[in-house]
Symmetry: C2
Subunit: 408 residues, 2 copies
């Protein structure tokens, strides 16, 4: 069996029994300290990922509106801008409220509005937040228009436009587009159109991704032009997904670009070629708790509760199981894959004839996730390291802890 560069002194339980190794978020010093499993963010690839898309959007001359649904953290979002809160996209009103508390004033809630949630929307508007809504039906437009009139606050609202049959939205040729636009405009609520190329997660080549980006742009712009041709004002033409944001070559007519996953990236995005495995900023630290050499298994204390049940790479050319194993410094353990999960157990196996490494009980590993949004959601926050400062051994120092927004 091969040997990893794991220094047993880092992970050994020599101090067990005296309580001195109990590490809380406040006292933890390195990735060897907190009890496992826990989520880690490395700000080194994260800053690189953010800069990459920022530069790209600058070249395309389109402002970014990052989607904060992946990290769901004000601390993480602070890396998106130099101190002045930027426009953001959210997936829940809980995120909108937390980001409003954090000083963000331009927020798009990119899930079709449930009329029951309008009181919270109006409460945010009354606090001075520009909360942009999304919808794709005459029913919803009528609710929003009525609520706006009653509240005396026009709620800025975008019409979801479908470019690929992924989930919601009206087609740019759908008669409902103009009906919705007129209802919204009548109440002073029409803000623009929004398109999300969700099927780009299944675009496996650069050419398919470019094509998806082009089609996403064309759909949004066509819908905007159709509304304008009917005399309806369109301020915002919003497009984006992590794959298309990184593939778009021409965004003429688009006013903003959205993407969220890119701050962390994950094995799905690496499988699509949108990033490299070394760009993945999120991982979960787990501990080896057993061995089944007769099956070729290493058992850890990180199961689906820590990784999520997401198996997004199962449909890709390279199925990455529940994730790839790396050492505490983030270096991949060649061929070691988390291939099974129960609630609090993970099973690691060697792939493609790789030797199963000799990892004693107590050894810690970082598991890179299939899907960052889903894995992050299993944790209350992130221990943060900076890969540029890591020396190994000892394990990377923990710089701080970032809390996540939870619930709806």
């Amino acid at each position: 069996m091969g040997h990893l560069p794991v220094n047993p002194s880092v992970n050994s339980p020599v101090n067990t029994g005296d309580g001195a190794r109990i590490a809380s978020s406040a006292t933890a010093r390195t990735l060897a300290d907190p009890d496992t499993p826990f989520a880690v963010v490395d700000v080194h690839p994260m800053r690189r990922n953010i800069e990459r898309l920022r530069a790209r959007a600058a070249r395309l001359a389109v402002p970014l509106r990052p989607h904060v649904k992946t990290a769901k953290s004000l601390d993480a979002a602070a890396l998106l801008h130099p101190g002045t809160p930027c426009p953001v996209t959210v997936s829940t009103l809980a995120e909108a409220e937390a980001f409003a508390d954090g000083g963000y004033t331009d927020i798009t809630y990119a899930v079709g509005i449930d009329p029951h949630k309008l009181p919270r929307v109006i409460a945010l508007s009354r606090r001075g937040v520009t909360l942009r809504l999304l919808l794709d039906s005459v029913e919803q437009a009528s609710f929003v228009a009525e609520a706006s009139r009653r509240a005396g606050i026009p709620l800025p609202t975008q019409i979801e436009t479908d470019c690929d049959g992924h989930r919601g939205g009206v087609g740019p040729e759908d008669p409902a587009l103009l009906d919705i636009g007129r209802i919204l405009h009548g109440a002073g609520c029409l803000d623009g159109v929004l398109t999300h190329a969700g099927e780009s997660y299944f675009a496996y080549t650069a050419e398919e991704q470019r094509s998806a980006a082009q089609h996403e742009r064309d759909t949004a712009v066509a819908a905007a032009e159709r509304l304008r041709a009917a005399g309806l004002p369109v301020n915002v033409v919003s497009v984006g997904s992590t794959p298309t944001a990184h593939a778009a070559e021409d965004l003429t007519g688009v006013t903003e670009l959205r993407a969220g996953n890119y701050v962390f990236f994950d094995l799905m995005m690496a499988g699509l070629g949108v990033c490299r495995v070394e760009d993945i900023a999120l991982s979960v630290v787990v501990t080896v708790i057993g061995h089944r050499p007769e099956y070729g298994w290493i058992i850890t204390d990180g199961g689906w509760m820590a990784m999520s049940r997401d198996r997004g790479t199962a449909a890709q050319a390279q199925d990455q199981g529940y994730g790839l194993a790396a050492d505490l410094a983030g270096n991949l353990v060649p061929g070691l894959v988390m291939t099974a999960a129960s609630q609090e157990h993970g099973t690691l196996t060697a792939r493609d004839g790789a030797a199963l490494p000799d990892l004693p009980v107590g050894t810690r590993l970082r598991i890179l996730p299939n899907h960052a949004c889903a894995t992050a959601a299993q944790h209350g926050g992130y221990h943060v390291v900076d890969g540029t400062r890591a020396t190994y051994p000892p394990a990377p120092a923990i710089e701080t802890f970032w809390e996540r927004v939870t619930g709806w």
Copy 2:
């Protein structure tokens, strides 16, 4: 399209805009009030599920040690006993600490011990909690024995015995069994043996489940007998999983029965025939936010963030997607299945030629989960209803809110 017995007045957004319908946990009155998605527990099937296994264990003359990893709630656990905390099983030290705070003093931590966690184990022991550990290697036994000696507290420890190659454990014939037993006994730590027939989740017939239960019992008893024959004391012979606990016919030699999922049950257990769909006590309330009639889709605001990514029924004869849709009273909508999920969107489709029901935007549904443990983990707690008291319309009254234990 067929029509459901959904009373639009319950779900209609007539009060939007005035703030009066914002419902917090404290003020929510019925399932029509809190913003969706949210988790619901119906105590009517839950009490029935608990009574069913209690009566079964009584017939088998074996005490129950319920696993609280599914509900992870002191309030839910209170239904397991008449006021006097019972022995429980936990999947994390966070659960052990929360249940210790709640007065539970006999707790089995049923995940192989990571030596790094021993300080927290010892801290619980010093509080007077009998925290029983699990392990399956000489390495771990040595750590536990050493930590016990240093602390001056023998930590009661069970040897995980493998009956079906599901994950951890030593075989009852493995030489390591006696080596581990001797190390533990030398430190006063040997408490017994524990077996979990995890593969019973793939036992698709009653006969296979009976056989799995018999084999689980035989394995545990054989390991116990082998230890005893070597002069080693065995107090606890623990077996269980939800399928085998409901299938076992003879538990001679077993001292306790574990099961966890049974308090809520789910579509996986229904698919195995361990329960009926109407026994499922956990669901997630979602709201219709759109329609794509051209695809036969109803879109809701409950995606994988609300349901989890668990697709446990995908391997069963009847794949239930991400769950089955019911109305707010819990009556199934015939043939309506949640077949796709993104982070905050669910897609419902009609199965087997069923008519897609006419469900306006704003209509609320309850989605029954594939896997209760995974779905429950996506929520901070449960709104609790009592199906025996439901009248419909109006929607079932919310009796109380139960918080969950989170983290590790």
